[in-house]
Amino acid sequence: MATYKQIFGKKVQFLSSDPPAAIGEGQIWYNSTSNTFKTSVMAAAWASSGALNTGRASTGGFGIQTAAVMAGGAPYTTATEEYNGSIWATSPGSLNTSRRSNGGLGILTAGLTMGGFTDAGYVDINSSEEYDGTTWTAPGNNLNTARAGMAAFGTQTAGVAAGGSVGPAGKSEVEEYNGTAWSEETNMTTARWGSIGAGTLTAGVVFGGNTPPTTAITEEYDGTNWTTVNSMNTARSELSGGGGPAGQTAAIAMGGRLTDPSPGSTATETYDGTSWTTSPATLAVATAAGMGSGVGTSTATLFAGGKTGPSITPPILDTTEEYSLVATVKTITTS
C-alpha cells in the first residue's frame, strides 16, 4: 500500500496545535497534544448574518451573496435594501410600485423586478421595474399576463418569468424580457406559483412551487422548450434558492413551505444538472417566503427575511442566514 509520503510527497507532520482550517484543507497531520490524526475538509453550513432594516416576506431578490438586492415584499413596501456580505443598507431608490410576491433577476447594478400583487384588493401587477444599483425606473414594459409568485432568472436584457399565480390559481405562462419588452413563450409543463428559477434564458431551471399542492417538480428551459427532469427530494413552495448563470447545472434550494398549514422548512438541496442531493446543512430557522428569487450560487447564497409560518401575518422576519462552504478541522476516527 502506498504511504502518505509516496502520495503526498511529505511525511505526516507532528503539530502541537491544529493549523487554521483553511490552510490545512486536504492535508493530514498528527496533533501531538490530543494524540489524534487530523484533517481539514470543506463542509457546507448556514450562519447568521446582518439583519434587514425592514423585516419582510415574499420579496423580489437578486444578485450574489456579497452584492444582493431585496425589493418590495410584505408588509407592503417599496423599500429596497442592498447586502454587501455583512450588512443590509437601505437603498436611496425605492420601487415605483409597492408590491409583494414579485419576481427578481439580474445583479445589483442591473436588476429587474416584475409582477407581484398590491395590498389594496390584492390586484395582480403586470409592470416591471429596472434597477441600476441606485434607482428604480419603470419604463412601462409590462408583462402580458399580470401575476405574482413567478420564478425569475437570467439578466436584465435576457430574462425569464415563469409561472406564478393569478389569484390563488397557479399558472404555467412563460415570458421573456429583452430589456425593452416582454414576449410570451412556450408554457411550462407544470403550472405553479412560489417556485424558484436559476440559470440563463437559454439554460434555465425552475424548481418547486405550489400547483397546489406543493411540488418538487423541476423543469429545465433551453430558451424554447421545457423538459421535466428529476424532482427535488422535498416538495415545497415559497422556497428560496440560487444558482446564478450556472444554475442549470449548479443550483440550490432552501427553506419553503412543505404542506398546508405547516411551518417553514429548514431543508437545503443542491442540483448538479441531473439530480438533487439533500445537504446536511440546514437553515437554523425553518422559514418560507424569504427572497423569492434566485440569489447567489450553489456554494454561496443567502436567505433573508421570510416567515416562520404559512401566513403573511406576523412574525415577519428580518434575519439573514448565509450558506457557504467552509474548511473544518476533523479528527480522523476510522482508517
Binding site: S262, S324, T328
Partner: protein, 95 residues
C-alpha cells in the same frame, strides 16, 4: 441525558451563530426567539455566550405557542379576500 437545551436569545445578526457553530452542535430557531440547542459542551457554551436565558421545554413551547396564537388571531382578522391568498398558521411543536 436530554438531547436538547432550550432557551431564548436575541439574534443580533453576524456571528450570532457561525458556520463552525452549526458544525459543532444542533441549533434550531423558533418564534419568540426560542432556540433549541444540542446538549453538548459547545451548545451549552454558545447559549451562555449569547446571554441566553435557559428555559424548560414546556416554557419554551409555551412561548412559541403564544406567538403562533397571536399570528392565528391576526390571520382570523384578515378579510376573506386576503385569507384566500394566505394560509392560517398552524401549530409549531418544538423537538
Amino acid at each position: 441525558m436530554a438531547l436538547f437545551i432550550y432557551g431564548t436569545a436575541t439574534n443580533y445578526g453576524k456571528n450570532f451563530f457561525t458556520h463552525q457553530d452549526r458544525r459543532n452542535f444542533f441549533l434550531r430557531g423558533y418564534p419568540a426567539e426560542v432556540w433549541v440547542v444540542g446538549n453538548n459542551e459547545k451548545g451549552a457554551l454558545w447559549l451562555a455566550e449569547k446571554n441566553g436565558v435557559e428555559k424548560t421545554k414546556a416554557e419554551a413551547q409555551a412561548l412559541v405557542t403564544t406567538e403562533v396564537e397571536a399570528s392565528q388571531a391576526a390571520w382570523d382578522a384578515l378579510s376573506a379576500e386576503k385569507q384566500e391568498r394566505s394560509i392560517r398558521p398552524g401549530p409549531i411543536t418544538i423537538p
